[in-house]
């Protein structure tokens, strides 16, 4: 009688107040049937990881437009690891230069989206990643 619904945490790490993108993704995911927890702006990586654990989410989506993604995104992954929750996949998005992608992947960010990514592709990726986690 499982009534599984995928839960996703959308977080804005660091000193970046521009959250139109994050909210837009949150709404699109809701409309695709996900339960989305939004942390609000200016959170620390520790706070985001702790909230992801308490909410028992299937994936974390991080948004950053300020250029600090190379530091902040891996720190979220690291904090999840500290709480033995590094099985929760982390996806990133924002203003992220192409040359940073390999570095982010290496540090445990499952996927990275840029302004050119379509909403459908983002939703599909979340679905794929959540389903993979559920069957693991």
């Amino acid at each position: 009688m499982s009534q599984k619904k995928y839960r996703i945490l959308i977080g804005k790490p660091g000193l970046d107040g521009h959250d139109r993108g994050a909210k837009c993704i949150a709404r699109a995911l809701r409309d695709a049937g996900y339960e989305v927890i939004y942390t609000g702006i200016r959170r620390t990586p520790e706070e985001i990881a702790a909230a992801a654990v308490q909410e028992d989410v299937d994936a974390v989506g991080l948004s950053s437009l300020s250029g600090a993604h190379l530091v902040l995104f891996p720190e979220v992954v690291e904090n999840l690891r500290k709480q033995e929750a590094d099985d929760i996949p982390v996806i990133g998005g924002g203003i992220i230069p192409e040359e940073d992608m390999p570095n982010l992947k290496e540090q445990g960010i499952s996927r990275v989206f840029t302004p050119g990514t379509s909403m459908q592709e983002i939703i599909n990726t979340f679905t794929e990643i959540c389903e993979k986690g559920a069957h693991a």
Binding site: M1, S2, Q3, K4, K5, R7, A26, R27, L29, R30, D31, A32, G33, Y34, E35, V36, I37, Y38, T39, G40, R43, E46, E47, I48, A50, A51, V53, Q54, E55, D56, Q83, E84, A85
Partner: protein, 308 residues
């Protein structure tokens, strides 16, 4: 798939991940949910105070809850919060924003917060939320706050299942008093006028006092954004809870809540069979839906007789 014993042990150890996993297992109705619920520490559940916080959108429920949590932390208490938001009836999805006002406690291991969507369940929400509250209580949380917009029957049921119920209103929200008179005012133990420093607060207090006095209830003024009136409110909640425990009112409410939850779970468990019967036979469109429902329920009861 889940190691239930390990999770139950984790709950006893007050481990965040175990508590969170346990709530998901129960909410999703995964295998092991029953074993899990059956292994919870009932003594802790018995003594933990469950406070229901309800009120119109924009009254300041999550800000107030956040302040109550802050105050409880000052008192050295371990606190649980279940924040309920509606699921979209179209997509089934939901956005939870209550975390935004709770983030100051994110790093505090003694504050357990969980967002929960209504998932379009008619009664099942009450059952899932009740189970989540018990998991938190078994994980050492006392008090547990459950916060919801008090509209709709199932949310009303949740509120009625609390030990103490606070109805939050605020000036400037329009005709809320009129709307609230319909039901929530009758079940609320405490009425809170939040944003009490705003124009219109005195009038709202006066109106609420009128209703409150008839029922021997009290009205509290708070300004949650400025952390005013929180201490008095919480100390009255505790006082009321201990009075209710002595008078047997608490036991009566818990028994009622338990029965409500049992009915909810039963209905949830019947749903798939009803759905199946509804779809299995060719539905004669000429039959009135109510008559068809009667046929289905009778059939279910008969099936049960033949099995038993």
């Amino acid at each position: 798939m889940h190691n239930i014993e390990q999770i139950v042990h984790g709950i006893e150890e007050e481990n965040s991940r175990s508590i969170a996993r346990a709530i998901s297992i129960v909410e999703d109705g995964d295998s092991g949910a029953d074993q899990l619920l059956d292994s919870l520490d009932t003594k802790k559940i018995e003594k933990s105070m469950l406070v229901g916080i309800t009120g119109a959108p924009g009254a300041g429920k999550s800000t107030l809850t956040n302040r109550l949590v802050e105050h409880c932390r000052d008192l050295g208490k371990r606190v649980g919060v279940v924040a309920i938001d509606p699921s979209s009836p179209i997509s089934g999805g939901a956005i939870h924003g209550d975390r935004i006002r709770m983030m100051q406690h994110a790093m505090d291991r003694e504050v357990v917060v969980r967002s929960m969507a209504t998932r379009g369940r008619l009664g099942g929400l009450c059952a899932s939320a009740g189970a989540a509250v018990r998991v938190m209580a078994a994980g050492g949380c006392d008090p547990v706050f459950i916060e919801t917009v008090g509209v709709g029957q199932s949310e009303m049921d949740i509120i009625q299942s609390s030990d103490i119920t606070a109805l939050v209103s605020a000036p400037g929200l329009g005709d809320d008093i009129q709307a609230l008179k319909a039901g929530l005012l009758e079940v609320a133990d405490i009425m809170v006028v939040n944003k009490a420093d705003c124009p219109g607060a005195d009038l709202l207090c006066m109106e609420l006092e009128e209703v409150a006095q008839e029922k021997g209830r009290r009205v509290f003024r708070t300004v949650a954004a400025k952390n005013e009136g929180i201490e008095a409110l919480f100390s009255y909640m505790r006082e009321l809870f201990s009075t209710h425990r002595e008078s047997g009112e608490s036991a009566r409410r818990r028994k009622q809540a338990r029965q409500r939850e049992i009915v909810d779970w039963s209905m949830e468990m019947l749903r798939p069979y009803v759905n199946e019967l509804c779809e299995s036979r060719e539905d004669d469109l000429g039959t009135d839906p109510k008559i068809r429902a009667l046929e289905i329920t009778q059939r279910l009861l008969q099936d049960d007789d033949s099995r038993g």
